[in-house]
Symmetry: C2
Subunit: 422 residues, 2 copies
């Protein structure tokens, strides 16, 4: 056990070293950054046995501590984990480099040429829970965007993350970039997280990835800006006149394709006119898929034998084969329900009506709003961002899936020929 004071000193030194490394990584060419990513991938392939051997230490400790088999599953570095880390790095290497691009250029009346140039954020701190592949995924994205990164994984994955850090450092060294561009916090203690959150002088952004408890702790403790991802209470609204075959397909996919994730549907809203035809058929398909329905009064009348929803159901993120169902009088009612209960994550409408599709898109205040498609598409890869570092449910800086571009910002560059201000 390290004492808090020595942890504070080390974390501060790490943050300062990350800041210095950021100046170098921030100005290096796309080729060199891609070379590091591919070199990390090559080293992971070559040293897979070493990574798995270190991972075994974490697994042994986890088993001794009596962690659930689901937790141990998430912690395991299997051959398929190795392959997905490598594929992820190769995919990020293929993305175009946003750094240095000029997104807009205009000329002022006095002849000044003004542009916005995309630049790295600087130093990013990532705090995450057990899966060791997050170490590789996030390091790859941060490097691609020209940032330094400090990684603080779960203490369960301590040895695995140390091994991955060794591999990343070897790759950085080989390509001639500073090793401090990627650092893994070398402490199991929670005090290390507190210390990290105090380095506002050196760190530009903190991204917590994990459960709501972790995220709330980070938001409340950090002096550094935080991009946060709270829960996903996602809705599908089946509009009057919607194609019911399509509605069934989308609703089934949104609920059951992977119920444990943030972009799965948690509440289904159905226009009253669709109730007689749609609800019994839909309920049958849900029942076959093992979904438990908790319905509003109206739903319970149509579908006898189902559980009545309580006030706790409308804001619930079940992450399970459970679904709240409510009958609404109009799209306005649906939008009002969403405004009250959604977590600004993902909402979809199934409709054939042009005006209501447009209004739903404009008026629903969520990071991804869809017409006639499953909520499960709220994902950086699915939307075409290439890879994602999380999904932001707050609006500042990024709202929705965050890819490489969201790990950058813009500055103004101004070209003159002697202009002064009158």
């Amino acid at each position: 056990m390290e004492n808090t004071e020595s942890i504070d000193v080390t974390i501060r030194e790490m943050a300062e070293a990350a800041r210095n490394a950021a100046r170098i990584i921030g100005r290096c060419a796309a080729d060199q950054k891609n070379a590091v990513l591919l070199e990390i991938a090559a080293q992971i392939r070559q040293d897979a046995a070493y990574i798995q051997q270190e991972n075994e230490k974490d697994l042994a400790r986890a088993k001794a501590a009596g962690l659930s088999s689901a937790m141990i599953d998430r912690l395991s570095v299997t051959e398929s984990t190795i392959q997905s880390m490598i594929a992820g790095l190769q995919e990020v290497a293929r993305l175009s480099d946003p750094v240095g691009t000029l997104s807009q250029t205009w000329i002022r009346p006095n002849g000044l040429q003004v542009s916005r140039m995309r630049i790295p954020l600087g130093v990013i701190g990532i705090i995450y829970e057990s899966r060791p592949n997050v170490t590789i995924d996030t390091a790859g994205l941060c490097l691609k965007a020209g940032n330094s990164v400090i990684l603080r994984g779960g203490s369960e994955a301590f040895e695995s993350n140390k091994a991955l850090a060794t591999i990343i450092h070897r790759a950085l060294h080989k390509v001639g970039l500073p090793e401090h561009a990627v650092q893994v916090v070398p402490f199991r203690e929670r005090a290390a997280v507190r210390a990290l959150l105090k380095q506002e002088e050196f760190i530009d952004l903190i991204i917590p990835r994990g459960g709501e408890g972790l995220i709330r702790f980070v938001v409340e403790t950090s002096k550094i800006p935080v991009l946060k991802h709270y829960k996903g209470v996602c809705h599908v609204y089946v509009d009057a006149g919607a194609d019911l075959e399509m509605a069934e397909r989308i609703c089934l996919n949104a609920k059951v394709q992977r119920p444990g994730v943030c972009n799965a549907m948690e509440t289904l809203l159905v226009h009253r006119s669709q109730v007689p035809e749609f609800l019994p058929a839909m309920a049958k398909r849900f029942s076959e898929a093992g979904v438990e329905i908790r319905g509003c009064e109206e739903t319970c009348r149509i579908l006898p034998g189902i559980v009545m929803a309580t006030d706790a159901d409308w804001p619930a993120e079940y992450l399970d084969l459970v679904l709240a169902v409510k009958v609404v009088e109009s799209m306005d009612d649906a939008i009002a329900h969403i405004a009250q209960y959604s977590s600004n994550h993902t909402e979809a409408i199934v409709t054939r009506d042009y005006d209501r599709a447009q209004r739903f898109l404009r008026e629903v205040d969520s990071s991804v709003v869809l017409v006639n498609a499953s909520t499960r598409f709220n994902d950086g890869g699915q939307l075409g961002l290439g890879a994602e570092i999380g999904i932001s449910t707050s609006k500042l800086h990024a709202f929705g899936p965050m890819g490489v571009e969201e790990l950058t910002t813009t500055k103004f560059v101004v070209l003159g020929n002697g202009q002064i201000r009158e």
Copy 2:
């Protein structure tokens, strides 16, 4: 004096009302938002006497409290203040409306059409010091971007701000928009600021405008994301081979045109090769303009009789007719000096060299970087953003002057025809 508990209750009610109003203002058309801005302008013209009469109460109180004449000057609502408030509103009304625009659209292989739609942030809290015209300027920009705003001005301007709020409410009412879209905090007490900073459930962004003390207090207290503007320690680097006549003109403008503002030059960096010809001539012009120079050793050798700079001078924001001057060996030295001491606000190079111009633009990590132009152009109006709500010196969400667009964010809108995730 109100007690803290009743302040907390009122502020929470205000924040919730602002959130409800944001849903309405957020979806209203540009025409209607512009109508409110022009109606506020008309009412200010019509009720100028009332505003000035309420302002007199603040002035009397300020004089009784012994405030400095500079403070009283800033607090005064003169005919010219009235005119500038009206002109500002008219200018913001003329800006194009960013809300609802689609900045990018692409098609996924499965046919999904993905776009980013620009949307309001929601509810913005502004905390500022004495000048009452900030009340009108910021209310105008927030409304234009479709946001609700809660304004907390300096307690010195309490009566003036109340009068302006009355006028804004009348205009909102007349145009048929909710009055809670713009609210002025009705308490002089500091507890009201603390209460405001706790409303993370309802407020999306806090912008403090004022001195460093105010900004640090807000950053340390707020649970809501903050866009902050720290000090401006701006540099001009005069490169080897630069046009010295242009360099003199730019440096003089950057230092003396308005020395008390954040984008004025505070440190001049001069390449060694330019010292003999440039420094004496420049020093003479500075001396004529009343500028006191604090020089590095080399500068003091060339310019006998000037004050030697100490370690405290390099990071200093003088906001006065004082300038630190340092001779550097190369542009790399200049960039390293800037990396160590600048506040990431504004830096300029005067050069004829293509490579060094490009490198300076890319490698200097400031919100505005200029070639051959005065630092004084770091300003929303000067750069063509129309109007600004402040200059962000931190990188998240916005870096540099913030106009209407920086008071918005984007969400993803996705158009499908039945797509589900495999």
